[in-house]
């Protein structure tokens, strides 16, 4: 095994046009270690953030825990190494029945910002995205047209979206169309 064989990373957004407007921007979230944690919601504590309530996300430092179901939490550790996080967590969770599965590369994170962010999402997501119905801190698994996404509102006009990698060009293409479709709104 020689040094030259160290593989390099190429994300699915490589070379893809990301829609941008005065009141909307779409940027990739940083690479992150991601896990689905099943079976033991309280185990989120071992990761850092408090166990999230139903349809809510919690954070500690950069680490995020998103409630996706009664026994399912999505853990996101931006910039961290998946192997190291997994080792750390498995050590802390030893003896407690659970499933911790690395999905760092299964999906990507996108950050949607601006006054039109919710409007563009509403092109494919049927949920009520008004602040009164989908407040800051809310997170859910939902759909965007024919793609499944995880939607997390970080600020009034800032959403974090997780999408499986092969669906990302479809999602981004539709968000770009939605941005143009929102002309004048």
């Amino acid at each position: 095994m020689s040094d030259r064989m160290l593989a390099s990373r190429r994300g699915v957004l490589d070379g893809l046009f990301l829609p941008k407007g005065e009141e909307f921007s779409l940027t990739p979230a940083p690479d992150a270690a991601r896990f689905t944690l099943r079976g033991s919601p309280q185990a989120a504590r071992a990761f850092g953030p408090a166990p999230p309530q139903v349809l809510r996300a919690t954070s500690k430092g950069e680490r995020l825990a998103l409630w996706l179901g009664p026994d399912e939490i999505l853990l996101i550790a931006p910039g961290e190494d998946a192997g190291a996080v997994q080792t750390e967590l498995e050590h802390k969770l030893a003896g407690e029945p659970h499933a911790l599965v690395d999905v760092s590369h299964r999906q990507i994170g996108l950050v949607l910002e601006g006054r039109l962010a919710a409007r563009c999402l509403s092109a494919g997501c049927p949920l009520d995205l008004r602040l009164s119905a989908f407040p800051v801190g809310m997170a859910t698994r939902t759909i965007f047209l024919k793609a499944e996404i995880v939607l997390f509102r970080q600020e009034d006009q800032r959403f974090h979206v997780e999408v499986w990698r092969s669906f990302a060009p479809y999602l981004i293409g539709h968000l770009g169309e939605a941005l143009i479709g929102a002309t004048g709104l």
Binding site: M1, M5, A7, R9, H98, L100, R106, A123, E177, I180
Partner: protein
């Protein structure tokens, strides 16, 4: 001719447009209808069936006649638009429809003369009836002619270059209709602070207020009050005004669909043509107003015959006189307002013919005082004039008919509340005999009607009702504002069905102008046995299609009721269907077309394959490299080379699309025991096993290699197409049948890029890239898995084979897929390896007799049928499908079993799906013995091969069977399905 019918002092900017090739001038704010009328043009189209000349009947969305095609360049022709809704702009080009060679001289008008052959039910009687004129003549000759002659506008065949957007919207209160009721509702609901959306199909809000010149609200002229009300609404940040937006459908759970015309009124380019809004409203206010009803008398469809209020709208709102000499036929007081306004504008009122014997009331008296000639107890004989009405025959009672000259005939049969949206919300309309109206009954959804659509016509009451509805929808108490209205005298009257005919009456009396349905057609339908209005509708086509009976429903109903001798509610009312007005297909499609129609899933190494010239094929939503042709190669040559070289040295294959599910938890082995036929409890960590999944009926539903990573962790692979189905199936059973098992499922299909290296040189290619484990034969036997690093990246490497060759599948995190692939490829090049695609993969697996789920299986195939009985754990107590495997049918002789077929001529490749018979020329009706499931030219065997399912196939090895084809039966010999390396020597190296 330049706006000869425009009132002096029209202040809008002049606008030039073209209708049927002729340039015209209109004014800013005009609709096409008002601009044409300003130029004295009434003739705008030919009717659906009889090709009768037709004019502009209404001034709104209910227009049944004036349907035109708007030309906006290639792919941008829109047929069947209502001239009363098209806003004109500089350069607008519009054409009439259904007329050839020209509107004034239309060849199809022969249908009008031949009208008696086109009576109600014509379609059914001819297309489905006896062979009147000899066999096939109708279908070959007449039907195409009739189809060409009938109908409305033509469609365009070019792709639509416009963009259509779709958005979901949520609000607390949605108000459909921006007339006085809707505006009062919006003011009241807006004051609550809740999110309010007010939509109206017109460019301007105000509805009837836009042409009301007589009434005042709170002492202000209506238009001033309107301007102030709209300014107040615009100042409310929680109120959203949506003009040019038609609420066209009311669906379940207060889901209302709106269609917004964004660009059709603009002379300049705009990035969006239309927007479709899917609104979920907590509460809805329906304020859709009422539609004036035509009167049914002979010749009521001639150009120049209009509804009375439409004439008033054109006059007061657009400054356009509909004629110079007007006759009105009415049964309702509201037409007198039109007469008085027209008179005041200098139009001669030749007569007001009132069907009522004793018309009275404030408006009638005003008309008398103004000296307008009034004929009471009027009857109508008909109208004259070829392309424009010139005379109308009127009689007072049983008196003689007098033909009165006119260039415009206005009619009013009263008002029909627009209950379409209420009806679509599943509410049941209630017949009010005293008012001769269907009005909304109890609410089924969270909605309430207000104003004319609820049968309320007095402006003061309309405003009060709107206000109450808005407040109720917003959940606040009704505000104390009382709107004071003056100059809005009470109105009454109305008429349903036929108008009494005067002496000498003749000619067609139309009920449904758009579908060319006459009063006689309704009679005929009843006479021919139709009893329900739903049957009358279908038989005559009245109230069908895009019109949905807006102007015709009640007249048709009344005529049917009279003929049947029943009351109107006894005959019933047809369903109001969505959409209220037609919606562009583009709006429904939105951005979901071309590349964005479906998610187009690409693997991490897709770009490499593309750069290497791969030809792709669709696998569900996935794009997979099918083969990698070199210069001059066709598919056959490329696949032949890929197979040959893979077996000679090695081939590299992208297997990333394989479904992958990580099954984790202390009970994961127990769970897999139930889900797969095979035994898993004793599979050691580090080892793999082929797994077979059955449905409850015992039939094969999926297969794949399953690797045990640890006591409590399995890496399960599924077929590419089966991945979502298998995960769903597993989750379903886990939650409903085995909830006590502590095991959890996570899809990891996209976590891993999978690079398969297959061939005698596979180990030499993979070995230099691997660290942390030994891939030698003894250290890592066939069907094992190791975790370590490949190219420095954490990886899972499985020793598996789908080709029959020594093989490894390298799983690396997807972002590293491309880079690791390139490293593998660089090693492979040293050994003359090839990249191969799905086609070569299929050939090589068929040479080994490996099945593909969905190709060798079709949902009726058991493990034993596939010679996979060995994959069933004999000692297992249970697994899904186990009980079904011993059903009598499943063990009966004669089941189709997997076999190989060799054609007598080695060059002949069978057709997949072809039937197999015992004899070369089977008798008609003789059942087939089976069918071909896979067939290829096999490079390894140097001849064609095929897999097939054949009844009792295993017993028939050596027999000759036949595959009948159009060119003659092909003789085949039944053989074992494993064609190549049956002992598996090539695997164990």
């Amino acid at each position: 001719m330049s706006e000869a019918f425009r009132l002096p002092g029209a202040d809008g900017c002049p606008i030039r447009f073209v209708f049927d090739g002729m340039p015209y001038q209109g004014r800013e704010g005009d609709t096409l209808a008002s601009a044409l009328l300003a130029n004295g043009v009434h003739l705008v189209g030919r009717s659906y069936k009889y090709h009768r000349p037709r004019g502009i009947l209404t001034a709104g969305a209910e227009e049944p006649n004036a349907l035109v095609a708007m030309m906006r360049g290639p792919g941008r022709m829109t047929p069947n638009l209502r001239a009363t809704q098209i806003e004109i702009f500089d350069g607008l080009e519009v054409r009439s429809q259904n007329a050839w060679p020209s509107l004034a001289l239309d060849a199809g008008a022969i249908n009008d003369i031949a009208g008696k052959f086109f009576s109600a039910g014509f379609y059914y009687k001819t297309f489905m009836g006896p062979k009147v004129a000899g066999s096939g003549l109708w279908t070959r000759v007449f039907e195409p002619i009739v189809r060409q002659a009938a109908g409305l506008g033509a469609r365009t065949s070019e792709p639509d270059p416009d963009r259509y957007a779709q958005f979901h919207e949520h609000c607390d209160v949605l108000i459909c209709g921006g007339g006085p009721a809707g505006i009062a509702a919006a003011l009241a609901a807006g004051a609550s602070g809740k999110d309010v959306v007010l939509c109206d199909e017109q460019a301007a809000f105000g509805g009837g207020l836009l042409h009301e010149t007589r009434a005042t609200i709170d002492g202000k002229p209506t238009r001033q009050w309107l301007a102030e009300a709209l300014a107040a609404l615009r100042a409310m940040p929680n109120v959203r005004l949506m003009p040019r937006t038609q609420a066209f459908g009311y669906y379940a759970q207060n889901f209302i669909a709106l269609s917004e015309r964004v660009a059709d009124h603009l002379a300049t380019d705009h990035p969006v043509r239309e927007r479709l809004w899917q609104v979920r409203a907590k509460e809805v206010v329906i304020a859709t107003g009422a539609i004036e009803r035509p009167l049914v008398f002979s010749g009521n469809d001639r150009p120049g015959v209009m509804l009375a209020e439409a004439a008033r709208i054109y006059l007061n709102r657009y400054g356009v006189k509909v004629g110079t000499r007007v006759v009105l036929v009415t049964a309702h007081d509201s037409a007198y307002r039109a007469a008085l306004d027209l008179k005041a504008a200098g139009v001669t009122i030749a007569a007001i013919a009132d069907l009522r014997s004793d018309p009275a009331g404030e408006l009638v008296e005003a008309a008398r005082a103004a000296g307008l000639p009034l004929i009471a107890d009027a009857r109508v004989a008909g109208t004259k004039g070829r392309l424009r009405v010139s005379k109308v025959g009127i009689a007072a009672g049983v008196g003689a008919t007098r033909w009165i000259g006119c260039d415009c005939l206005l009619m009013s049969g009263g008002w029909t509340p627009s209950v379409h949206l209420y009806s679509q919300s599943r509410g049941k309309v209630v017949w009010h005999e005293d008012r001769q109206m269907f009005l909304p009954g109890a609410s089924v959804q969270a909605e309430r009607s207000a104003g004319a659509c609820k049968g309320t016509f007095a402006l003061a009451t309309v405003l009060a009702e709107g206000q109450q509805a808005g407040a109720a929808a917003a959940g606040t108490s009704s505000p104390s504002i009382t709107y004071v209205v003056a100059g809005d005298p009470p109105q009454s009257g109305g008429h349903l069905g036929r108008v009494k005919a005067a002496d000498g009456a003749s000619g067609k009396a139309f009920v449904d102008f758009q579908n060319d349905v006459k009063a006689d057609d309704i009679d005929l339908a009843v006479q021919e046995g139709m009893r329900s209005i739903e049957h009358v509708k279908r038989y005559t086509t009245t109230g069908m299609a895009t019109d949905q009976g807006k102007t015709s429903n009640l007249n048709a109903l009344a005529i049917a009721a009279e003929k049947l001798g029943k009351s109107v509610p006894e005959v019933g009312l047809t369903t109001f269907r969505q959409p209220y007005t037609p919606v562009s297909f583009g709006a429904f499609a939105g951005a979901n077309r071309g590349e964005l129609f479906d998610p187009l899933r690409r693997t991490p190494t897709h770009a490499w394959a593309e750069e290497s010239g791969a030809v792709f094929e669709d696998f569900g939503l996935w794009k997979r490299a099918r083969y990698f042709p070199r210069a001059g190669e066709d598919m056959h040559a490329a696949v032949h080379r890929e197979c040959t070289q893979a077996r000679k040295s090695a081939g590299v294959f992208d297997a990333s699309t394989l479904g992958k599910i990580e099954v984790v938890g202390p009970d994961s082995a127990a769970f897999l025991e139930m889900l797969y036929t095979n035994p898993w409890a004793k599979l050691e960590p580090g080892r793999c096993r082929y797994g077979l999944m059955l449905n409850e009926a015992g039939f094969v539903m999926d297969d794949g290699v399953i690797a045990r990573l640890a006591a409590d962790r399995f890496h399960v692979t599924t077929t590419t197409g089966g991945a979502p189905r298998v995960l769903h199936h597993m989750e379903d059973y886990l939650q409903t049948e085995f909830p006590d098992l502590r095991v959890w499922l996570t899809s990891t299909t996209e976590q891993w890029a999978v690079i398969a290296v297959q061939g005698p040189k596979a180990r030499e290619i993979v070995a230099p890239l691997v660290e942390g484990f030994d891939i030698a034969h003894e250290a890592m036997p066939h069907m094992s898995i190791r975790e370590g690093r490949v190219c420095g990246i954490p990886a899972r490497v499985m020793r598996v084979s789908f080709t029959g060759e020594l093989g490894y599948e390298i799983n690396v995190p997807a972002d590293f897929g491309r880079s690791v692939w390139e490293a593998v490829w660089a090693e492979g090049r040293k050994h003359d390896a090839v990249a191969y695609g799905t086609e070569a993969m299929h050939v090589m697996r068929a040479e080994k007799g490996h099945i593909i789920v969905g190709q060798e299986t079709d949902g009726t195939v058991t493990p034993d049928d596939l010679c996979l009985g060995w994959a069933i754990g004999k000692a297992k107590k249970d697994f899904i499908g186990k009980r079904s495997l011993v059903r009598p049918d499943m063990v009966a002789p004669g089941r189709k079993q997997l076999v190989g077929l060799l054609t007598v001529n080695p060059e002949t490749v069978l057709e997949e799906g072809a039937q197999i018979t015992a004899t070369a020329t089977p008798k008609v009706g003789e059942a087939a013995q089976g069918h071909v499931t896979s067939a290829y030219d096999s490079p390894a065997l140097g001849r064609s091969i095929a897999l097939a399912l054949v009844a009792d196939g295993r017993k028939r090895k050596g027999q000759t069977l036949h595959v009948p084809m159009p060119g003659g039966a092909i003789a085949v010999t039944v053989v074992d399905p494993v064609f190549f390396d049956p002992k598996g020597d090539r695997l164990n190296v």
